[in-house]
């Protein structure tokens, strides 16, 4: 969710003052950041501003597909039941026409369900929308109807083909053929896993990819409550105290203040007090202390950032 800062070369060698355990944790964290950064693509808008697009992962897309398949089956079965009811109630003789109608309807649901939704303003099927995904053109231009057609017609070999081979059977020769076909068509099915842009064959042909488009909510700034005069006068942190942590810890603290339980906040407050040698004053609650420290830390780090120094974490001593 966050904008990943450009990663600078990391010195993973041991440094004085860093325990072995902390170094291992830090390395794991940086590796995770690298992994996330690999899924980010920069899009430069015609205004010259860069927007970071995050690609949808293979598992999210599989999930969206499952939801869509479930919806398609629900539509098809509901229509079949509805038609059976209507035919049974009204005119038993028209069963053939009803069946003909249903068959054509089935074809359109099977092939045009995705096209119908992706051609719309949101460029996403209901399944994609639930998981916060959308289809976008790979060159940043507009998503054309032809691209939507292409990426969805190709689905036939990605899903239809392996499925048909899986159902095929017969004698020994036939079974071997089916196995071979399944392996061959499995290449198309598993295509998204093996390329860095997580494109399926349809995306490749259509020039599209699937990105995350979550709707974020703007929440209150945590420093707003710490800025009240009565609070800010009570917490006067020394420069040394605000140097104790870096940007990573600040972000962790932000997440904690926005969504953690009081017990965890109390534990963290205790640890921070110990680390910066802060004597608890009378009537000071954990929440107020954390908010005040967050504000002081952010002020300090933002000042340094303006001067071009990003203190990435508490081990970053410059």
């Amino acid at each position: 969710m966050t904008a990943t800062p450009p990663l600078k070369p990391v010195n993973t060698g041991r440094r004085p003052g860093i325990s072995m355990e902390a170094a291992v944790q830090r390395r794991a964290r940086l590796a995770e950041e690298m992994r996330v950064a690999k899924m980010v693509r920069r899009l430069v808008t015609p205004e010259g501003a860069a927007i970071q697009l995050k690609l949808g992962s293979a598992s999210e897309r599989a999930g969206a597909f499952m939801i869509d398949i479930a919806i398609q089956w629900a539509i098809v079965i509901a229509t079949l039941l509805g038609l059976t009811f209507v035919v049974g109630a009204l005119s038993p003789g028209s069963a053939n026409i009803a069946f003909a109608f249903w068959l054509v309807f089935f074809f359109f649901v099977r092939n045009f369900y995705y096209i119908f939704f992706e051609i719309g303003q949101r460029a996403a099927t209901p399944g994609k929308r639930i998981l916060g995904l959308r289809v976008a053109s790979r060159d940043g231009g507009r998503l054309t109807a032809n691209s939507v057609l292409a990426r969805n017609f190709i689905r036939e070999i990605e899903i239809g083909l392996p499925f048909q081979f899986a159902l095929m059977g017969g004698d020994q020769f036939g079974a071997w053929m089916a196995l071979f076909g399944l392996l061959w068509s499995g290449v198309f099915l598993l295509f998204p896993i093996f390329n860095k842009d997580k494109m399926r064959v349809g995306d490749l042909i259509a020039g599209t990819w699937v990105i995350k488009a979550p709707k974020a909510k703007l929440m209150d700034d945590i420093t707003s409550s710490a800025a009240r005069p009565d609070v800010s006068s009570r917490f006067a942190f020394t420069p040394a105290q605000t140097e104790a942590y870096g940007i990573h810890e600040l972000h962790v603290l932000e997440d904690l203040l926005r969504q953690s339980t009081p017990e965890i906040k109390a534990q963290v407050a205790t640890r921070i007090r110990a680390k910066i040698n802060w004597a608890r004053t009378e009537g000071e609650t954990d929440l107020v202390f954390l908010e005040a420290y967050y504000a002081a830390l952010r002020r300090r780090l933002e000042q340094r950032m303006l001067l071009g120094e990003r203190k990435t974490d508490k081990f970053d001593v410059r």
Partner: protein, 333 residues
């Protein structure tokens, strides 16, 4: 208050506009552009540019994760809306029918000829093999597929399958059958398109296979002296249906050719350009198959005169050829 953080003041001054943009986008996403008032429409570009510049400033001065991720999401949504497609579905369909579809087909003459070669090659192969020795029919079809339309059938039976006898069949049955055929053919057409990705080889095989199926059946009727009548029965809708299958194969070859021989472009760029064209053709095939199903379901069953059947077939052929290949005025761009 001087004690506020710079990044907080920055946000305080601008968040009103961000929230306005958010509101407009939510409205547009839920109900399309029609929902927006003129005032909102005019404000949108300014708010969008402001949000984008806020984002780049926020990245360099703010360490508030929530603000940055909010702006990222807001700008992404706004970008896709501002630079997104503006045409309505109706306009899009008209453009498809008037320009895109015939243009895509007429640009792919060579792949169309190649597809036709495979399809009619398979047809001719099966036809001549079967005429020489009817045993071939059983090799191609395995067991009996065409409800008794095989070399052992009598001339009278075969003739009865070509013409509709009012007394024996209810029309509901025929509708069901033709919609089943439409379903089947359309799925094959989309398959032929999609299989093009594997360098077009499976597409070629699919075309030959379908050609062989029809060619061998043709031989059965030919041998019994029903060639003229069978042609009328087949071609009244077959002109449209078989053209659709050939064009779907051509669409597959367009993709296969672009993936196998990208030329000066990268393989990705080449696949992409071809994909747009081929998808247009495949979409067109679905439309042709709907028309073919209508001709088959109604036209063929109602018209029992050979001459009229040939006339319909000839007319559809001319219509398709003119529609696809007649030179047209370049669009005023």
């Amino acid at each position: 208050m001087t004690d506020l953080l710079k990044s907080y003041r920055f946000r305080e001054e601008r968040q009103g506009d961000w929230k306005r943009l958010d509101l407009i986008l939510t409205k547009a996403e839920n109900g399309g552009v029609k929902n927006l008032t003129d005032e909102q429409m005019l404000a949108l570009p300014r708010l969008y540019r402001q949000a984008v510049s806020s984002l780049s400033v926020a990245r360099s001065i703010s360490l508030d994760q929530n603000v940055i991720s909010y702006l990222e999401s807001l700008c992404t949504r706004a970008y896709f809306f501002v630079y997104g497609a503006r045409t309505t579905l109706g306009e899009r369909m008209m453009q498809f029918l008037r320009r895109d579809w015939p243009a895509a087909v007429s640009q792919s003459v060579w792949t169309t000829l190649l597809a036709a070669f495979f399809f009619f090659g398979g047809w001719a192969l099966a036809f001549f093999l079967c005429l020489q020795d009817m045993e071939w029919f059983w090799t191609f079809h395995g067991q009996n597929l065409f409800d008794g339309r095989n070399p052992d059938a009598t001339v009278e039976y075969l003739r009865s399958t070509i013409y509709t006898d009012e007394s024996t069949t209810g029309d509901g049955e025929l509708t069901a059958f033709s919609s089943f055929l439409f379903n089947n053919n359309a799925q094959i057409a989309l398959f032929a398109f999609a299989l093009g990705f594997a360098f077009g080889i499976p597409t070629a095989w699919l075309l030959v296979y379908n050609g062989v199926m029809i060619g061998s059946l043709y031989a059965v009727f030919w041998e019994k002296g029903l060639g003229y009548e069978f042609t009328g029965w087949l071609m009244i809708h077959g002109v449209t249906e078989l053209s659709a299958i050939v064009l779907a194969g051509a669409a597959g070859f367009v993709i296969g050719g672009a993936v196998a021989f990208p030329g000066g472009r990268t393989r990705l760029a080449s696949a992409r350009a071809a994909g747009q064209k081929a998808a247009t053709m495949a979409m067109g095939c679905v439309i042709m198959l709907i028309i073919a199903a209508l001709l088959e379901g109604f036209g063929r069953q109602l018209i029992n005169s050979d001459t009229v059947r040939y006339a319909v077939a000839g007319n559809t052929l001319v219509l398709w050829l003119v529609y696809f290949y007649a030179p047209r005025k370049a669009p005023d761009a």
